[in-house]
Symmetry: C3
Subunit: 405 residues, 3 copies
């Protein structure tokens, strides 16, 4: 009865069960398990230099907030609607002492304390009840870091060794563009879940296929060599070491690190020898968007953006047509194509996904640790703790004597 | 353990409870408490002069409807999909007797009665069952007023004294632009809840801050004088009287009225002496949009729009850049910034919000009255009731003898 | 007490019950009653000639899929996210043996079998578990037909007699434009439910009103003659015969067919004598969108699109302004105006809607038949079944001797 056909009818897509994303390790809103883990860390929310007299609307960890700097130079981060009657604090004006609401002129300092209510007979006890909800911020490395967690658990803002003790002929370049995920300086808001980006960092094999053999060499043609890879948990997160024998016979190892909450340090993709001089934060904007902030140690006279990839088609990403992106897709096309949050329930993880598996396990462990009242890794409260070392870089065997892994 | 810091960790935004809007006094859809109150009044839905041979899609109180005028000049308001098989009555054509559906030619009069079914053998009893749902409309002051309430409770369309007995050298100018909320003639649909706009009318203090000291004088520089204010309930709603001593020593009082369902009469913002010659309706389009219709008594030879504000930047609102709006925000920026419906649960009302508090209380009382079967204020069924007086205006003490408050 | 008024207060729109669409006969997603009926048929999803080296994102019956052709010419239809880690198969590249994922290079054939995993040590038993969900496709008449149903119920792809045995001087023209629903070649995605379009085919009376007297003759002025109509169930669906006496006294009958799952054959609307040489599929994209695919038998040297209507305003539909569409609405304006899915609960069906009523009844019967485990009409598994005959056309009494009805 059945027609002659080359298909055997098995494995079809009919009546497959609907699959979902894994909410526990991806969603970051207030009160979510991963959101509470994230709220135990400081996150960069903007470049310091962008904070002028005009307040900025920002969104981080699913919360809409207004970031400002008073005329004394102090940064503040408050809820976006005036506690009085909901006027938008984006339209507020900054003064020496804080920020003044445009509607009825209430003035708040960077900790939300109400200092003035010009349409009221002053009643200090009433003013004290009119506190604008706020979050603490701190600036370093050209970035404004916010802490959205429980006040009693506020950790110190970590220092990172590669960006301390900058030599006089060097500087730190701070960047908010989306280069590291295949975009460029025309787009900073990355429209998919942060974890797709972060776990891609622990996947050395997509570099061989996507960035080299599939789309043509987006980084370095030597990336086509299939590496031997070791993965390991570290005090701050995890790392992998990818060993390659280059076409000239040299042996090298590329070491990539991810650190909690959601940082990474990737060795230079042109494969030159040396420690990584760049580090980036992946900051969840909400469940389906994230931003990246990178700092890079550069010569003092460097003038530009530390662009990490050489587009195979010799065109900026934002200038590429849809057809050109189809011819040479990069991280942006792949990760966005995974969806706003990828459907973990549909995956078939393989041996090469060991880094992804380890990273998710580590993330679950930290989520559980916070749920049980503990402090997650990378969080500290002791000013005597030294700056964190990382260890990412490309290391060639015959140059190891001078560089060290 | 805790780091040295200028913040004391209190009053933070972490783990604040989510707050909502107050649905009872803001939502207007069919069957909602406030929607049922609103449905006891007539609301203007369009300017009469716009109603030509082309039916218009309108939305009011959350209902989509089609407004038309038959060739005999009668206005009609019906549901937007033909009762037969749902064809869009926007595409219908008007005739002497009513409006004809484009799909199968059913003809309905302004009360929805089906007069013709050209593809059917005529069966009057079937035709009678094919009645298009409709609402009564009535025209006055250049506006089409609709009544969306229970037929048995249909009140008379009120007359308003300032707009009756127009002298031969005067006329009524009817306007649908959004000037009164800080917009202009390029936008009539105001994308936030009507109550934010209405209660702003009962707030004399934002005029001092927002419209004068904060954004520069949008109305009259004398508005910078902080007034003494009295509030009072009136037979039709409520009013406030704002007393000021002007810089030249003159004493004046500005009296502003709001009337149910959602009207207002605001004295001229340039502060010239005399009774207000303008009145406006705030018409809820749906829960998150409203429109305004204003009528103004003007000289017969007036040619233009009675523009109420002088933009501080000498630019039309619609020509302002986002940055210019940031420099001089007005009612549009503030009220839109409160959100589609403001979050009442977050507010900290102060002494200066007495008008807002009173107006909300009055609104709740009227909602409750309707719920219990009563007729809300401002509704009447008796043709002998005289035209409603208002009483808004700017009154200078030394000119009171001739003007009266 | 009640005011004098010409309205009697009855039949009003106040407090009317909310009405819904009939989900059973309109919704087509996986597991829905109508969706399961639809999944027992083959549906065209794209024109064969469009399938080059670039995979195509398509949506059909509410499912997002990727359609591709391998370099050996075989078409394949798979789920859009790689079974490995969700990378978008739209960005995949085709090879001789199948399609290769851009992320980690997994290669799948047109039946979803995984042939290569370059970043893995090959383990055939693991590969076998990594099967990409797929649906069978087959090509005919210039179209790619997909089968989204249960494998055990896969029917043969029917042949249609009018398009078999094409003479040497003829050809089949295949078209995906929206002409048949009042659109044109600028739009293929029709933004409303498929059933509104299909049942409109069984409505001979809207042709008299909408397409002729209301908008001016969009087809042939003789369509203004109100026809006598017979309806009848057929082995493949149903038909109607519309009898007209033309202005020159000639008698003719126009016979229109609809066939399951969602096909139609409409005689030429210019009313010329002869059998219909065109047939179309209405393919549900999802619950609120559909596409049409038409095949037409044309002379070999025909160069163009078999455009079915002559626009009354001598303008292409896509060039018409909103006002011009209002002056001469066609099927697009009416059916889109019925809404994304029309509200069946609001309808008042009349005698002239007999075709619509019969078609919906037939559809419900087939849905019920499938629910009970049966095979719906038009489905067969026997290669010896001859090509399906239709029988649509315009037939003039005095030419019947040579043409036959």
């Amino acid at each position: 009865m059945a027609p002659a056909s080359r298909d055997d009818g098995t494995g079809g897509a009919y009546a497959r069960a609907p699959r979902a994303h894994d909410a526990e390790i991806t969603e970051v809103g207030p009160g979510t398990p991963c959101g509470e883990l994230m709220r135990r860390y400081r996150h960069p929310v903007e470049k310091s230099e962008r904070l002028g007299i005009k307040p900025m609307n920002i969104r981080v960890l699913g919360e809409d907030l207004v970031l400002f700097r008073d005329l004394k130079g102090r940064a503040g981060l408050i809820t976006p609607r005036c506690i009085h009657r909901g006027a938008p604090m984006y339209y507020a004006k900054v003064e020496d002492a804080g920020i003044r609401c445009p509607y009825h002129g209430w003035l708040f300092d960077t900790e939300g304390k109400c200092l003035d209510q010009p349409c009221e007979t002053d009643r200090p006890e009433f003013r004290a009840r009119c506190r604008q909800p706020w979050y603490p911020v701190e600036e370093r490395y050209g970035l404004v870091f916010a802490y959205l967690g429980p006040p009693a658990k506020k950790p110190l803002l970590p220092r990172w060794a590669p960006f301390e003790d900058i030599a006089p002929d060097q500087k730190i370049v701070t960047d908010a563009a989306s280069f590291s995920v295949g975009g460029d300086d025309t787009e900073e808001l990355i429209p998919w879940n942060w974890l797709q980006d972060w776990e891609n960092t622990m996947d050395p094999f997509h570099v061989v296929i996507l960035h080299t053999s599939f789309s043509g060499p987006q980084f370095n043609p030597e990336m086509a060599v299939m590496p031997n890879v070791d993965w390991a948990v570290t005090p701050l997160g995890m790392q992998y070491s990818a060993y390659r024998r280059m076409t000239d016979g040299e042996e090298m190892v590329g070491v990539t690190h991810v650190m909690f909450s959601s940082l990474r340090s990737v060795p230079i993709v042109q494969l030159s020898h040396g420690v990584a001089e760049s580090m980036g934060w992946l900051v969840p904007v909400d469940d389906t968007h994230h931003r990246t902030f990178h700092i890079t140690r550069m010569p003092e006279d460097f003038d530009g953006v530390p662009l990490v990839t050489a587009p195979v088609l010799e065109k900026k990403w934002s200038d590429m047509t849809e057809d050109e992106r189809w011819r040479a897709p990069g991280d942006w096309e792949i990760q966005m194509g995974q969806g706003p949050i990828t459907l973990h329930g549909e995956e078939r993880l393989a041996a090469s996904d060991r880094g992804v598996v380890m990273l998710r396990r580590l993330l679950r462990e930290q989520i559980e640790l916070v749920r049980e009242g503990g402090d997650p890794i990378g969080v500290h409260f002791d000013p005597s703790v030294p700056a964190y070392h990382i260890g990412a870089g490309n290391f060639y065997r015959d140059r190891m004597a001078t560089a060290g892994a």
